[in-house]
Structures are given as structure tokens and as C-alpha cells.
């Protein structure tokens, strides 16, 4: 109990954990958006729909093939990532060199179509996805109760984010990726198949979204619009963090999840808007975002 504010430590930590979970999803999604934006110069508005498809992919696997959570954690990102590569090859690819607004419109259209189709087929209400047996239950930490699955989501997301950061900033492949982001013509003239790299990058960003979808399935329900609601906040996160930096989008994601959680404790009325308020403030003070490079 924190007597002054009349808030139990239990409630505080519970909300902080919820915030951390949301932060994990923000981080995974904004990381994918940042990677895609860097390479393709496209603001991928289909990201929320692809996140939803990740969750549905896991649900399909379970219902039609009795394939459970753990294989889905690998298969859904692969399957949806592959679909992303098809989208890039057949559609986004043609927009190369045009104003980024075209990419934004196209991906927004794709999102609406995909969400419409799923809603038509499965209705608007959610379908439950069972928690994997291994992660049922939780730990009593004394000051709070920690559900195992939620702990897993946070730890696994952090690991995936850090692995992505490492791959981009510290490996040969990552160096090639950064080079192609900075100067695609010259990178290509060194013998790097840049178009293929672009397709793979889009597929990877999409796979991260699908992975977040699978992670979310047991917590939230599997719903056609689960991404549509979420992605608006994620775009605010991206604006706050700035498009430029990998680590920036990871940190901003977790940070804003926590801020949201804290707001729920201390001033619940503002919980849904606090991210947008921060976005406005950041835009006023540092238009390129907290970690963005000033244009």
C-alpha cells in the first residue's frame, strides 16, 4: 500500500506488468515498421492487419490441423512473412521511387481489404485461443501475482527485439542492410541483389508483426480488428520514437507501454490518450522524434 495516493502496490505492479506487455507489442510492431520504413521508405499501414493475420494463422493451425502454440510461434511468422514477400513483389515493388504517400495508401487499402474479408468470414467478435499448457499458472512474488504467460511474452519479446537489433547493427548481413538503406544504387553496384534484400526485409518486418500476433492470441482474443485498434497507438509510438533508429523504436515501445500502465493507476481517465498527448508534445519539441535523426 502506498498510503498517500491510496493505491495498493498490488494494483501498481499489476498495471505496470500490463503496461510492459503492451510495450512488448508496441516494440515488436514499431520495430518492424522502422525496419520496413528504412529500407522501402514505406509507412506500412498493413502492419496491424498482418499482426491480426499472425494471430489467425495460429488459430487456423490449431483448429484445422491441431498444431499448437509452439509450432505456431514459428510457422505463423514464416507463413505471414511469406505472404508479405508476395505483397512486396507483386505490389509495393511497383511503387519504388514514387512519393511514399502511394505506399501508405496502398498498404492502408490492403489492411482494409484483409480486415473486411476476415470480418466477413469470422464476424467481429473474438475467438479465444488457449494458453499453452507449459505457461499456465503463475508465480506469487509477494508484492504481486505474475502470470507465467505474461512473463514469457515480456522476456521473449525483449529477446527478439535485442536479437533483431544485434543482427542489424552488428553482423555482416546487417551492414549490407544498412548500406542498402543509405545508398541502394551503390550497394547494388557492388554486386548485392538489393531488390531481393528489400523483399526479405519486408518479409522480416511482417514476420515480426505476425509473431506479435501469435504472442497476443492467448491474452487478447483473436479478432479481425485486433490490429486496427492497436496499430493507431503503434503509429503514435513510431512518431514519438522517430523512424530512424532500431534501438529507439524498441525503447520507445516499452517506455510508452509503461507510461500507459502508470497512467491507468494514477489517472485512469487519461490512459487511452496519454500516448497521443506525448506524441503532440514530442512533435512540438523534437519533430524528428526522440531517437530520430533531424531531417
Amino acid at each position: 500500500m502506498i498510503p498517500l495516493l491510496g493505491i495498493t502496490t498490488q494494483a501498481l505492479f499489476a498495471q505496470l506488468l500490463l503496461g510492459l506487455i503492451n510495450g512488448a507489442f508496441y516494440a515488436l510492431l514499431s520495430l518492424g515498421l522502422a525496419v520496413i520504413f528504412g529500407m522501402l521508405n514505406i509507412v506500412n499501414f498493413a502492419h496491424g492487419a498482418l499482426y491480426m493475420m499472425g494471430a489467425f494463422f495460429a488459430w487456423f493451425l490449431l483448429h484445422y490441423f491441431e498444431i499448437g502454440y509452439w509450432p505456431a510461434l514459428v510457422l505463423a511468422p514464416l507463413g505471414v512473412g511469406l505472404l508479405g514477400m508476395v505483397i512486396e513483389r507483386t505490389m509495393l515493388h511497383r511503387l519504388a521511387g514514387l512519393d511514399p504517400i502511394y505506399g501508405l495508401l496502398l498498404t492502408f487499402g490492403i489492411a482494409l481489404i484483409v480486415q473486411g474479408l476476415f470480418q466477413n468470414a469470422y464476424g467481429a467478435s473474438g475467438m479465444p485461443y488457449p494458453m499453452p499448457d507449459l505457461l499456465k499458472g503463475g508465480q506469487n512474488l509477494g508484492f504481486m501475482y505474475l502470470p507465467n504467460y505474461r512473463a514469457w511474452v515480456v522476456v521473449f519479446s525483449i529477446a527478439v527485439c535485442l536479437a533483431t537489433w544485434f543482427a542489424i547493427e552488428k553482423t555482416r548481413l546487417g551492414a549490407t542492410l544498412r548500406a542498402a538503406t543509405e545508398n541502394p544504387e551503390l550497394t547494388r553496384a557492388f554486386g548485392v541483389n538489393v531488390p531481393r534484400l528489400i523483399t526479405l526485409t519486408y518479409g522480416f518486418g511482417v514476420a515480426l508483426a505476425a509473431l506479435a500476433g501469435v504472442l497476443a492470441a492467448p491474452i487478447y482474443q483473436v479478432r479481425p480488428l485486433m490490429g486496427a485498434d492497436f496499430i493507431i497507438v503503434v503509429f503514435a509510438v513510431v512518431v514519438i520514437g522517430g523512424m530512424g533508429s532500431i534501438m529507439g523504436s524498441i525503447l520507445t515501445g516499452f517506455l510508452l507501454g509503461l507510461v500507459e500502465g502508470l497512467t491507468k493507476v494514477f489517472y485512469p481517465q487519461a490512459a487511452n490518450v496519454v500516448v497521443f498527448v506525448i506524441m503532440v508534445l514530442v512533435l512540438l519539441v523534437k519533430p524528428a522524434g526522440l531517437f530520430g535523426k533531424q531531417a
Partner: protein, 239 residues
């Protein structure tokens, strides 16, 4: 020349035309380079030297005519395919990646054939690079950037090096160092097409010269004939 005539050219460019949008920049460029030669392309600012190199590298969108490298017609190939045949460019603006370290810049171009220089030999040519391996590419001095831009295309096994004004804006001592390096590369058997304003410096390295004007080759002569062509050169280059 007599000796070179016996072998097939490594690169032969014929009737090369190039456009940037509507503007017609190259009007039928013809040139040939034999294996192991160092050939220097001279010409005023805007004559089309850089465009010629970029066409050979496959980096100009609208181009026509014929570019034949090692018996492959490359006029319609993309730049990555051309690079994998063994052509490498050191661009005029140097093209050092600021977001990559010196080491990452150096290791960026993929190996395309055996026979590239090992890293130690590149460091022997350009000792400065070794000390700066962990610096960011954007933090190098102009001279270091130029050494890196040349150094990084030596590892790959490319046989034809396209060097676009490697001495531009550099201090005399660095220019000398780059001259020594190019001389060693020639001795190692690299074939080099060198764009250069400084033809006195280039004459020590080049076997032959081509002179370009308004998107065409207007003169060509061997290095030994440089003195005899001085007047013409002064007229063409306006120096």
C-alpha cells in the same frame, strides 16, 4: 599497343548513348581497354566521363549501344549482375557509407571471384585504413575516404576497376600515395579505367588516354604521345 592488339579487349564500348530523363548526355561513345592496361579518360567538367563509368557499371537507367565486358554483353544487365562479372566502381563522390564502420565499408562488397587482394595487402597500400577500422565511415577525412573507396573494391576479385577522379580535392602527399597504389595495382594485373582531370599525374600511370567532349570520344593517344598532343589537350580541356 602492338602487344595489346594481339589479345581481345577486356572492355569494349561501342556507340554508347545515355540519357538523364530527356537530356541526351552520351552521343555514341567508343572505347576499348585491354587486359592489364591503365587507360585514362580526360575531359572538361560535364563532358560525360562519370556518365560513361556509370553506364559501364549499369547505373544509368536509359542507355543503349553496346558494352562488352569479358565477352559478355552488359548493356541490358543490372548493376549487381555487372559487378558479379568483375567490374567495380570507385565513385566520384566516394560513396562511403556513413552508417557503417570503416571495417564494414571495407567488407561490404561481396567477393565475386577468387584473386582479390587480401586485407593485409590493402593495408600495405593504405596503412591509414588499418588504424581507423572501427571509426564510423562518416568521420573519415577526404583522403581516408578515398583510400577506403579504392581499398574496398580490391578484395572482391573484380578485374576491371573504374576510378572516378580519385585525386579530386586531396592534398599532394595523398595524391602521391594514391598514385603509388594505382601503380602497384597495375603491376598486380588489374585493368583500370581512370577518370582524371590531372593528366600530368595520370601520365605517369596510364598506358593510353581518351579525351571526351560533349558526350563523345574526340581523341585517343598513347602515353608516349602525350607531349605531341599537349596543344590539342590544352584546347580540349581548357587548361
Amino acid at each position: 599497343m602492338a602487344e595489346a592488339d594481339l589479345t581481345a579487349p577486356l572492355l569494349s564500348v561501342a556507340g554508347l548513348q545515355a540519357f538523364y530523363g530527356e537530356s541526351h548526355v552520351l552521343h555514341g561513345v567508343n572505347l576499348r581497354i585491354f587486359p592489364g592496361e591503365v587507360v585514362t579518360l580526360l575531359g572538361r567538367n560535364g563532358a560525360g566521363k562519370t556518365t560513361t563509368l556509370k553506364c559501364i557499371m549499369g547505373m544509368v537507367g536509359k542507355r543503349s549501344g553496346s558494352i562488352c565486358f569479358a565477352e559478355n554483353e552488359t548493356i541490358a544487365l543490372t548493376s549487381d549482375r555487372i559487378a558479379r562479372l568483375g567490374v567495380a566502381l570507385c565513385p566520384e563522390e566516394r560513396g562511403i557509407f556513413a552508417s557503417l564502420s570503416v571495417e564494414e565499408n571495407l567488407l561490404l562488397p561481396p567477393k565475386i571471384a577468387p584473386g582479390g587482394l587480401p586485407l593485409d595487402e590493402i593495408f600495405t597500400l593504405f596503412p591509414n585504413l588499418k588504424e581507423r577500422l572501427s571509426s564510423q565511415g562518416g568521420k573519415l577525412s577526404g583522403g581516408e575516404q578515398q583510400m577506403l573507396a579504392i581499398g574496398r573494391i580490391l578484395r572482391t576479385g573484380a578485374r576491371l576497376l573504374l576510378l572516378d577522379e580519385p585525386t579530386e580535392g586531396l592534398a599532394p602527399i595523398i595524391i602521391r600515395q594514391i598514385g603509388v597504389a594505382i601503380g602497384k595495382l597495375k603491376a598486380l594485373g588489374f585493368t583500370i579505367l581512370l577518370v582524371e582531370q590531372n593528366f600530368r599525374w595520370a601520365s605517369a600511370l596510364a598506358d593510353r588516354f581518351y579525351v571526351m567532349e560533349h558526350g563523345e570520344i574526340v581523341e585517343s593517344f598513347a602515353s608516349a604521345e602525350l607531349a605531341a598532343n599537349m596543344d590539342k589537350l590544352h584546347a580540349c580541356l581548357g587548361v
